[in-house]
């Protein structure tokens, strides 16, 4: 695992970005404010609680991304391996929305970003119930990092429409996307 020993270097690579803090078996998403003398000032992403930890307590692996459930819509996000933004952590400059190109990163969605990083999603059944109850809504909802459904019954895999959901609640893949079935089975189980 990547470890930074030089606090000044770490501050340059991490301040203003999202990484995770290791506490026991948990890897908690945090937004780093600053680093000085090997101490890290941060706020938790899910609850916006400020705290301090040691530099060595950070998990510097890039945080996992995918679908983020916002208020009415699921947006799909990926990191860019870009040269001009040499930060180890995630921030607005090095992330892109692949499903909705004009979507804005962050803002009031930090709790939802934390849920994505943690891999916390409603179940497929819950999502199906939600879109069935309100079929007129144009929104979408993700049931895993990789899959979402929308009010029109479309099934999306990593921002790509791969089919629909039939009346029995089963996926009905477009002919050229049947390969997505294994990933779907894994996602709903």
């Amino acid at each position: 695992m990547l470890v930074y020993k030089n606090a000044e270097y770490a501050a340059n690579r991490l301040a203003g970005t999202i990484v995770r803090r290791i506490i026991g078996n948990q890897h908690i998403p945090i937004a780093i404010a600053n680093i000085a003398n090997s101490k890290v000032a941060y706020t938790t992403l899910a609850d916006n609680i400020p705290d301090v930890c040691d530099l060595k307590e950070l998990d510097l692996d890039p945080v996992p991304l995918g679908y983020i459930n916002n208020q009415k819509i699921a947006t799909y996000w990926a990191r860019k391996p870009m040269r001009q933004d040499w930060r180890q952590g995630l921030r607005a400059a090095n992330v892109v929305c692949l499903s909705h190109p004009h979507a804005e990163w962050g803002g009031n969605n930090l709790k939802q970003i934390a849920a994505c990083i943690d891999g916390v999603y409603p179940t497929f059944k819950q999502c199906l119930g939600k879109v069935k109850r309100n079929p007129e809504a144009k929104g979408s909802i993700a049931f895993s990092r990789d899959f979402a459904i929308d009010g029109g019954g479309a099934l999306m895999y990593k921002s790509i429409v791969v089919g629909g959901i039939d009346d029995n609640g089963e996926p009905d893949y477009l002919p050229s996307f049947e390969w997505a079935s294994d990933a779907f089975i894994e996602a709903v189980n």
């Binding site: 470890v3 690579r13 870009m82």
Partner: protein, 280 residues
Amino acid sequence: MKNNILNTIKTIHPTNGMIGVEIEVEGSKLPQILPSWRIDVDPSVKNWSKHENYEYVIPKPTDLIGVKAALDELELAYKMNNSKVVEGELCGVHVHLNVQEWSLKKFYTFLICYYIIEEVLTTYCGPAREGNHFCLRAQDAEFILFQIRKTICEKNFKYLNNENIRYATCNLYSLFKYGSLEFRAMRSTRDLAAIYTWCEILTTLAANTGKFNSPLEAISQFSGDGELLFLKTLLGKHAPLFTKVPDLEKKIRNGARRAQIIAYATDWNTYKDEKVNPFK
């Protein structure tokens, strides 16, 4: 006209030789004159290193024999100078594979095979390189796969002509400058034999992906063979270096899942089939 990388990307200057190596080094008493190497100062290292630092570059693409000779020369110079090399997160080894003569189908087949085993391959490069922002894997920065998918779907390489994909373990932006794939993941180390082995691993992978006629054939063989046999097919005698990687099968399976969005991006029959020797 051959349907290859050289004829697809018009900015490339035709170059012979199959492999190039750049080694960023920080340490002390480092060699400053070496006939087989160009010696540069890398600003990205210089600004942060507390040590002496240089970048050693093989000035023209060569073959594995040429790489070995250059590394032997560097080894001798290290010994003569009593050099000390510091292994840290700042320095890496970049290996360029010349793909100018590769057919497009061969090129994409290679990429799919690479991304299937990328996570496993990167374990060879050292823990400080896994997830390092200088060399992000597809699992860290998935944007690269979507750019490749667009390139395949629209048969337009403009999506790869982009600095935003440069700091990946496999830098495809290098296609436009050198006609090469740049592999950025290897750690800088005093162990030059490990660097040579990494070069061998990459060239073996490139040669063995030629066993498949298309990306779909590679994916199909993976499904039929399973993770371990597929790894052996790709890496040959180097496969045992990876068989003890924790969660090996899961890592390869996840890689295959990620590679699907490019493997199934098009009907590969629309790509003209050609027999091209990748190391011509």
